[in-house]
Structures are given as C-alpha cells and as structure tokens.
Amino acid sequence: MASNEATTNAHEFTVSELSGALKRTVEDRFGYVRVRAELSGVKRAASGHIYFALKDDSAVMDGVMWRGSATKLSFVPEDGLEVVASGKLTTYPARSKYQMVVDRMEPAGAGALMALLEERKKKLAAEGLFNSDRKKPIPFLPKVIGVVTSPTGAVIRDILHRLNDRFPRHVMVWPVLVQGEGAADQVAKAIEGFNAIDGSGNLLRPDLLIVARGGGSIEDLWGFNEEAVVRAAAASDIPLISAVGHETDTTLIDYASDLRAPTPTGAAEMAVPVREELNYTVADLGRRLSGLKVSMIADRLERVKGLARGLPSPRDLLGLASQRFDELSDRLPRGLQNVTQKKDIQLSRLAGGLSAGRLVQMKNFKGTQLETTTKRLEPAYERKLADLSQRLNSAGRMLESLSYERVLDRGFALVEDASGKPVASSGELHAEQQVSVRFKDGTRGMKVLDGEPVETVEAPKPAPKPKAKPKAKPQNTNQGSLF
C-alpha cells in the first residue's frame, strides 16, 4: 500500500479537471493561428454555422465557423477549395475532441479562385448556357423593370437616377444581399421570383430585369460566379441585363445574361431610350405629317396645273397645220408658173438662134471672106512661081560648074578601084593593082607599076592621090606621074 501510495504521489485529476486544463493550455498556446488547408466535408447547419474539416495530405482537423463569422465570408466554402483560415484552437471536452474555430477564411490566393472560375465557366459553357442563340432581345421601351440588387447603397440610386433622366419607368426592386453568405442564393431566387410573376395577381410582371452590383474585389463579386445565379440568369424568360462590378470585372452571370452592361448606370442606359429625343422625333414626324395634309393636295394640284400648261391648245395644234396648208397651197400654182416661165425662156433663147436672117448674114460674110482670099491667092502664086524658077536656074548653073565632069573637061582624070570606088590616096594602091581611070570622054583600065607608094609619094606629096578638086590644079603633072 505504502509503495502504492508513493508511486501515486502525483496529483489526481478528475476527467473534467484534466480536460479543462488541456483546454486552457491549448487555447492559451494556440490562441491565434493561421493555417493553410484544403476544405473537406463542408456542411452548413440550419443554425447558420458551417462545419468542415481542414486537411492536408497527412492530417485532418475539424473546424467550425460560427454564424456571425460565416455571414461575412466573401465566397462560398466548398469541398476541395484551398483556403487560409485564421482563428483559435479549442477543445470540446465532452467528446475528447479538439477543433479550430475559424473567424476568417479566404481562398488561398487569387490563382486558386481563378482556376475554380475557369473550370466552372468551361462546364457551364459546355452545357450551352452561354450560347448566343439563347440571348433575347432587350425591349425598346420596357413598361416595368425588375431590379435585383441591394436596396441600399449607390447602385440602386444610380440606376433609378439614370432611368429618371432618360425615361421614368415603373421599377420594382427585389432586395438581395449582393455579397457574402447567402448572396448568390438570394440573387438566384430573385431572378426566379420575377420570372414567376405572371401578372395575374396584384403584381406586374417586369418585361426587363437588371441584376446589378457595384465594384469590388473578386471575392466580393464571387456570388455572381455561383452556379445557381448563372443558371437562374440563363433560364430567365424575361430579358436580363447584368451589371456587376466595374467594366473590367467579368463574372459568370455576364456570360449568361442577354446583355452585359459595364456598370449599373450603363444598364439603365441600355434599358430605356431617352424620352426627350423620342418626344422630339415624334413631334418632328407630327409636324411633317400635318404639313403634308395641305401639301399632298396642293402638290397634286400643282402637278395637274403644270401638266395642263404643258398641253398645247387645240387651236395651236390646228393652226400650225393650217398655216402649212396655206403656204403650200400658195406655192403650188406659183411653182407651176415658174416652171412654164423658165421653159418659155429656154425655148425662145433656142428659137432666137435659129433665125434665117442670121444664116443669110453668115453666108454673105463667108462669101466675102472667100472672095478676098481668092483675090489674094493669084498674085502670090505667080510671085512664088517666078521666084522658085529663078532659084532653080541659078542652082542648076551652080551645080553644072561644080560637077567633076566639068573637072574632067579641064583635063583631070578620076582613078577608081575595081569596085568603082574613087581612089583618093596613093597609099590605097599596091603594085600590079588594076584600076580604071575616067577621062572626059571615056574610061581606060590601067595597072599600078611601083609597089612602094610611100617613098614615091613622099616627094611629090600632093600629086598622085587626090583626084577631085584639090588635085584639079596640078592636073597634068599628076596624070603624068600616074602613067
């Protein structure tokens, strides 16, 4: 017993004491921790608390987020999401458990969120929710506009102001949370709720919806990436304009909506036309129309008058023809007269040329001419004849005196070769050649004695050869030498 007492010297706790001590130790030691973990087994209780497990590849730890903290969440926690949770550790003595009470939780980096977003976008696009053939046209002038947004804040104010500036309309606001826990759910329900109004009750069915939220971080806008919201927007039978965040923020509802506005104010501008402009257009059309009331008759009257002016009067039509007729009928007899006259002149000109007087005159004239010419012809002929015979006599005398026979009379002789051709030079003759020599009373044949006429001729040069006039003078000597 004593030894027993000694070994059990240590303080003896009750279970509660020990658990309490453990709880204090854990809470003191881990009063504030941050832990990076993957969420799993996320469960939302009706009380609003969220239960989940934080885990990594080898350990698991329970976690809880009380309702107060959970409503401040900027995103919806879901299984598989990597988060950074901060809070404290505590134990649950009744069940020998410990867990982390998380009061802040955020996705582990934007990259993780974006990856999630991208994956969800792909999935919904594959279902055809973003197809352009699903888009409905926005009505030109909606009667009732349903707005899904927070009832407080700048967004609804901006929309209402801009609508009022352009074209005041009946607006029904469906108040929702636009951020944090439950926001996505409320927005989806509001879209469905507006579509559920059939207009038969005391509520008017909107013919255009605007889902709007102001700018914020990706976490702030996260609710508009939630599947429930995207599906509700895609399923809406009422045309829907989304206006979430600023121009650079794009959430998944923008893909599913029929029209995406860059801002809430922009949504109001897309929703209604400007009333003043329409007033002006209609007034202008009205002015033109009432102007036409007068002018559509007046114009036609003017046209008829114009055409009538262009129509020539029957008198004018006839007048021209009758004038032509008059002119022609005037010219017809004159034409005939002209022709007769012209022919007449031609005839008398011809007849005048034919008169007998002229013929007689012509005959007399030609007779006189003949007489004169005849008179002139006789003496001229006689003169000519005398002249010619005189010239003939003298020529005959001249011829007589020049004849070579007269030369032969004077004692010269003519040497001729066998062919009867006169021999004019001694060189033409050779020895023993037969020649005939003509004298005044006859011809005798002779023979050339010497054969060297050149030597013999050399000395008495002018003697032997010439037989005609040049030889006429030395006739005797020459003839002697020839013999």
């Binding site: 559920a196 209609v282 129309l289």
Partner: protein, 85 residues
Amino acid sequence: MSDVQIGGKAIADLSFEEAMGALEQVVAKLESGNAPLEQSIDLYTQGTQLKAHCEAKLKDAQAKIEKITLDENGTAAGTQPFDVE
C-alpha cells in the same frame, strides 16, 4: 381609335417602337408623293393616329418605384413604396 391595322395589330396594341416605325414609314411614303391620292388620305389618317399613340406612350412616363415584399417562402408577396435614402 379605329380598325386600322398595322402589321396585323390595332394601333392601340402597338408598342412604342412599332408605332414610331410605322409613323416614320407613313411620313416617308407621303413625302415621296408616290402614293395614290386616295391612299394618301388613308395614310394621313393613320399617321395622325400613330402620332397620338406615340405621344400617349411618351406621356406615360411616371416613375413608380416599388420594393418587392417577400412571404415566408421567399417568393414575392406584394410591393411597398420604395424610397432611396
């Protein structure tokens, strides 16, 4: 107004956009002067009715802002006037 039909609808049933489009066409047709006289008179009558319809639609521009009230199921139960603070 009358039994005039535009695209198979009575003028009173036309939306503002349809009525204004029809009015523009009427004015253009009359201004062209190509329509026969008898038709012009009908067109003019139509035009005045369309204009009146458009003006009525434009006059109906009262802003009425309401807030949906929800029942316990979260569905729309009714409305109450809505004031932007």
